[in-house]
Structures are given as structure tokens and as C-alpha cells.
Subunit: 476 residues, 2 copies
Amino acid sequence: MTLSQIDEEVAKLLQLKAQLGGDEGKHVFVLKTAKGTRDYNPKQMAIREKVFNIIISCFKRHGAETIDTPVFELKETLTGKYGEDSKLIYDLKDQGGELLSLRYDLTVPFARYLAMNKITNIKRYHIAKVYRRDNPAMTRGRYREFYQCDFDIAGQYDAMIPDAECLKIVYEILNELDLGDFHIKVNDRRILDGMFAVCGVPDEKFRTICSTVDKLDKMAWEDVKKEMVNEKGLSEDVADRIGEYVSMQGGQDLAERLLQDPKLSQNKQACAGLTDMKLLFSYLELFQVTDKVVFDLSLARGLDYYTGVIYEAILSQTIPAPAEQNGADEAGVSVGSVAGGGRYDGLVGMFDPKGRKVPCVGVSIGIERIFSIMEQKAETSSEKVRTTETQVLVASAQKNLLEERLKLTSELWNAGVKAEVLYKKNPKLLSQLQHCEETGIPLVAILGEQELKDGVVKLRNVASREEVDVPRADLS
Amino acid sequence: MTLSQIDEEVAKLLQLKAQLGGDEGKHVFVLKTAKGTRDYNPKQMAIREKVFNIIISCFKRHGAETIDTPVFELKETLTGKYGEDSKLIYDLKDQGGELLSLRYDLTVPFARYLAMNKITNIKRYHIAKVYRRDNPAMTRGRYREFYQCDFDIAGQYDAMIPDAECLKIVYEILNELDLGDFHIKVNDRRILDGMFAVCGVPDEKFRTICSTVDKLDKMAWEDVKKEMVNEKGLSEDVADRIGEYVSMQGGQDLAERLLQDPKLSQNKQACAGLTDMKLLFSYLELFQVTDKVVFDLSLARGLDYYTGVIYEAILSQTIPAPAEQNGADEAGVSVGSVAGGGRYDGLVGMFDPKGRKVPCVGVSIGIERIFSIMEQKAETSSEKVRTTETQVLVASAQKNLLEERLKLTSELWNAGVKAEVLYKKNPKLLSQLQHCEETGIPLVAILGEQELKDGVVKLRNVASREEVDVPRADLS
């Protein structure tokens, strides 16, 4: 039994005990959030808002609309979409009525939405929480409830233009979030399949070998090869041939070179993928993002539904995650990967009664990972994160001025000024100034008998302590 | 069996059939969202964003922070908080681990958050979805998944100051949303309890008589009285005495008059409530909102946890809701009510192991009702709702200029301009202009051989058809 399983069992037993009345009939509450979930406190929300604003601005700059779907879907809608991972889906209790499950990602609901509304082209983003009964590693930003942040372009268009825009978007967002240097690996499912074919991998082993290749970002080639040979039953020859290809990295030049490769050039799939890769790089050149994009034959990505180009963005230097007991192996999994996506031309057709396809390409921003990094940055930075936007606190040094303070505050609100007032009849000036220091309010509007008589307000700059009298009429 | 129950049974059977493989082994998908839920399409999202922006700006103007909590809580956290309505809570399936339920409102998670983090004062808003297995009436904006939009002030403060701010906030939001005339009813739980006591209602019947009084907004007094006498077992005398009080409406003057009432003035609870009501109105006067606020002794509000002032905002003229089969009676329930709240000083203490109380007052904006009204307004209005913010479409009338179009689009993005380009090698100018008309893009940047040679872009105003050449360098 792991520690977290024990915690869960204890929580369950305490709940049961509380329901039974506990000892001496006292109600024992378990004061916690569900396993793998967290509250966002105001500071975390302020960071979350900042990140969302940057990302949403980018999506809007690219002309995207947004949609939202319910947090749960018919269980049937999710069935058969996630392979083995289906066991991680949260089901709702059968309380009569339909059988429901919490959404596992935003892509399947998007495909369901397109098919249901017979939409054949749309450029949309969707930012919402999804749910996985996974083993949480919360200090590294892995939760059972977490945000996904998806941008997708659906529609029948000329090759690689929307695909290039997705990469441009990743580039812009990572630049603006200021997370340090990064690079974006690009590959194509058709190139992978063609490569496996010419290396001599039997058709039925493409997917499983693909998932072994996917481990190259956290395992040495020697170990990957061992898995191919010992577990997946490839011959050493075949594995070595794969090994040659997956060590290749480059740009448009590599695509051109591989189009001349005596073996790959004989494979239809590979040729189609390589030709598109060349085209993609020519568009990326126009978008001025090739400095960060690498054509990398070892990039495989796990999901079954990809049919064309795939990509993944990786941060070069990541802030080290706090140590945890789950083993060093796991720690490597998500280090640095902050966005990923690709083309999936078959998924919508799975929902259409007549199987009509809607080609799609999209990208998912790994927002929880980004939150974690931003939170760690905020903690080590000397700058304080403000959780309110209040511009001015209405205050007084004298007694019996509550009514005047409320009146002035109301005037400020009516003028659109973000203002606060302490909910006390006669607060001390010191505690009013302290409230400003603690919450970062830059200005205090001080009222006293003299100011009221003169029709002014004393505006005090909290940081510099400078004071200036402002005519009351100028404030609203 | 009702029609909706039959629909549900059919959906369930079809799901089962699909799981079993259906006829001829074909997979039959039920292409729908779960009962009582809906997708938001881009147009609905644009309206939702507009409404949220107005409301959030108001909350921020008043110095509020925001928090978020998980969509599910330990089942135990929700137990014993909602009385009879507990049957409407969605439970998650027991898949091992903790027993979980979807949140039913935002107030209980807020109280759990305060107790768990030992927070004794905060001013926060929380906008999020909540879940109720209720009978949906979706055309009237009643769903099983719906937004709540709560603003609450927690902390030990001088009487009625935060309470007055909550009312000011309701006033500001309803004004800014421009939903037509409205008024806000105010009452106090202590005044209601005092009134029941002096009218001769036995203590143990306070709550049940309270919920009968609550029906006065949709039932005539004669019917309410019948319920009190025939169902709740009050004598006619007692009911008539209640009837006299609950017909009273007024302002500060009414509070003053009732403080002189020979019976009420003898009741400690009522006096405390009436004194606070007087104070509340004096603050509302300073906030200049008394033109819309009515002290109304018939306002009761259903929830058990209120301990002091309560209020509800009602639109005077509502856009008539589409007819539905569920009976005219039900249609009246929510007509016009778009915000409500009150003081609940005991709730946080229910979560604290030592029962420490944190006084709270808050308001919930009936955002789904507001969405419905705004959507109906948008449909009857001639103005088109834009779902993107794109400022300019990069276009060409000539062939073979895809690369130039992509290059210019990228320059615009880099300069922060919201720009789109069609994903076609050689789109017709007409279809490019049509895209602008359909989506409301105001400008087209047209590129041709001549413009490229001259180093300019032809900017065309879609509405006026005016064209002007702009030097390329001025664009970015």
C-alpha cells in the first residue's frame, strides 16, 4: 500500500465514522479537498488570470472564437476514445437517468460538438477543467482536476497552412509568458509509420513501437532498444535501423535529404509526410519562427488519434521541481514539456452517423505546468503579487467620519475608481495605512474636518508618503 | 411517466444497445449532451463574456479578490447543508478512494475554504458552475449545470457596512447590465422571527411558516393563508396577524414606525433587526441607492442558513419566457428575480472543529437568467453579435500570393494586430470579402503585384468600401 492510498483509506473511514455519528455522537468533519484537487487562493488566481490573459489575447489575435461544453458527457461519448487510459475516467453514480462521466480532455467534447452541430469549419479555443483519476503529483503540477487550454482549427484547407499557424501560436505564447528559452519538436505520424515500414517493423506493431520511441525523451537509446527487442519482439537489426533514423534532427534540409533517402523515398506515407514537412518549414520561415523549431524523428506522442504532423514544445531550462518520493524516473516525464498537439483528421468522423470526416489540427497549452512555474517564480521574486486592483483607500485620522468616508467611497465607485473603505466606525489611521501596505493599494484619500471644510481630499502616496490636496470635484 | 423521463429512458437504452454492439454490430452513438446541460456556442460565449466583464469589473471596483474551488467536494462536506434539496446532489460513482459529490452551490465550498484555511476575513468573488439534479426548464434558463456568481464579505465588522456594500453592488451591476427597471426587496430574518413570535406562531413552526410566506411573490395572500391554516395548522387569528405585517412595504420610515409598534417593540429579535434596518437605510442613502430599495416584510427567502438581513433583486419588466408544458404555476417562480443574498453568520462555524464563527454577508447574481435575457435581446436586436475580435483580413485579388499574404499576416500579429488570412492558396476576392461580412471584420488589407512593388497595402473599409493605400512600414 502506498502512502497516498493509506491517506485515502483513512479519509474514507473518517467519513464513514462521521456519517455513523462518530464517537460520543460528535460529528467529525474531514476538512480537506478531494484527493488530487486543490483550491486556488487569491494569489494563485491572480497568477492564473495573468497567464490566461496572455494566452487568450494570442488566440483572439489569431481570430479564434471560443465555446464551452458541459463538465460531464454521456459515458458512451467517451467510450473507446482513450484506449487503456479509459480506466482513469471519473464516472458519476447511477442515480437514475443517463450514465455520465466527467470529461477527460477537451478534444473529444470538441469532436462531439462539431458532429452534433454539423460544423465543418471553425477556429476555436476552449479553456476548461478536465478530470483524470490518475496518481497525482501535485508539487509538480499534476492534479486530478486540471485545466486544459486548447486551440484547434477544423476544416478542409490547403496543406500545412493551419498547421503552421498552430506552431506560430505556441511560439508567441511561450515568448510572451517569458519562461526562458524553448524549442518546438516537430514530426509527422506518416513519417513515423513509413520509417517503421522501411525498417521492417510488422504493421500490427506500429503503435506499440511508436509508444516505445516516445520514451526517448527520458530514456537512453540503449534502453529503448532493449525494450524493442526484449519486450516488443523486434530483431536487433530492425531496432538498429530505427535507431539510426530517430537520432536525426534538423530543419527543412533534413526533410529534403530524407526525400532522397533510398529506402524512405520508396514509401508513399513517408514521402507525403516529408513533402508536407518541407512545406511546413517554408511557412514557418515566413512566420519567422524557425529559430525554435526542430524536425525531430524521435518525437512520437502517445495519442492514437493523430494522423499527420505532431509537435511538442519543451522549455530548455526548467525551474527544478521539489523532490518527491515517487521515484526519479517519473520526475522526468513532464519536465520541460509545456505544449503539444498535432493533426487528427479522423476523430470527428467517429461521432458522425455517416462517418463524415472533418480534418482538424490543434494545440494544447500545458497550463498547469506553466502555473507551477509562474508560482515558483513569484515566490522567489521580491515583487509582491497583488490580489486586488484597488487604486485608493478612503481613510480618516479623525473619529465620527464614517458617513463622510462612505459618501466619498461611493462617489469614487460611481466615477469608476476602484476604491475601498474599512468597515469600521473609527479605524486608526495606522491600521488603514497598514491595510494599504499589505494589499498594495498605492493611494490613500484622507478626509478630516479641515478637508471637508475646504472641499478637498488629501491624497497620499503610500510608497513615497507624499501628500497633495485635490479638490473634491476633480475626483468624480 | 413524463415525456422527459421517457426521453431519458430511451437515451439510456440506446446507450446500453450501443455498448452491446447494437444491431449488426454497428456502433450507435447518441449524439447529445447530458440532460439539462448545454454547449455554449461562440455567440453565447460572446454574450457570456460581456456579462462577466461587467460583473467582474464591479467586483474589482469594490476591492474583491477571487478564489476557485474544485468542482467536486467530499460527499461529507455537503451533507446536512441543504435540507430536503440534498436529493438533488450529483454523487460520483465509488471507484475506490473517497466518496465525492459535485458542488451544489458556491457558498458551502466557500465556508469549507475559510474554515480549512482559518481565514477570518476576506472579500471575495467566485464565478463557477454548480450542479443540481433538478427538473430542468432550459428555455427559461434553468439547467442542471449552471453558473453561480457570488460575492461575499467575511469578517467581524461594524454593523451593516458590508451589508450595504452588497446592495450597492447589486444596484451597480443591474444598472450597468441595462436590463430595465428593477427594485431590491430587503428584510431581516430577525424581524421575520420576531414577527412570527408576536403573532403567536409556535417556535418550532418558524421555518415552515417562513417558507409559506416566501410564496407570497407568486401566490395571493388568500392562498398563502389557506396553506398556513389548513396545512401548517395555524389558527385563522394568527394567520391574519401575519397577513397584516407582510403587506407592509416602505423605507427607513417603516423601520422607525415598526420600532414603535406595541407588539414588535416588545420583541428583542425584531428590535435588533429593525434598528439595523434603520442603520442600513442610512448607509444606502449615502450610497444613493434608496430609490430602488424597498423594506418588504413579505420577503422570506428559502435558505435555512440566513441569520440577518436578506435581499432579492427583481426586474420590473421581464422579457416573456417562451411557453412550456410544465404548467403556468412553475413559470412564475423565477420571473424577474435576478439576484439575492443575505447575512449568514453561522455557516463557517459548522465546518470549524471548534465551532468558531466567521460572520458573512453575500450576494449571488442570477447569471443564467441574465444570459437568457441578453440572448433574447440579441436575437430581437438588429445588431449582429461578433464572435471574434479580428480587426483585419489579409487578402489578395491575384493568384500565387499566398506567401506574401502569410508574411504580412505574421507582421500584423507581431505588431499586436488581430488579423486573419484564409487558409487557401488562391481564394477568390469575393469569398475573402464574404468572410469579412459574415464575421464582422471591419478592414481588409489587400495585396497585389502593384502594392508589393510600391511597398504599400491597400486598406479597404468593408462597410463603406473606401480604399486607401498605407505604406507597409506604418503597419507594424
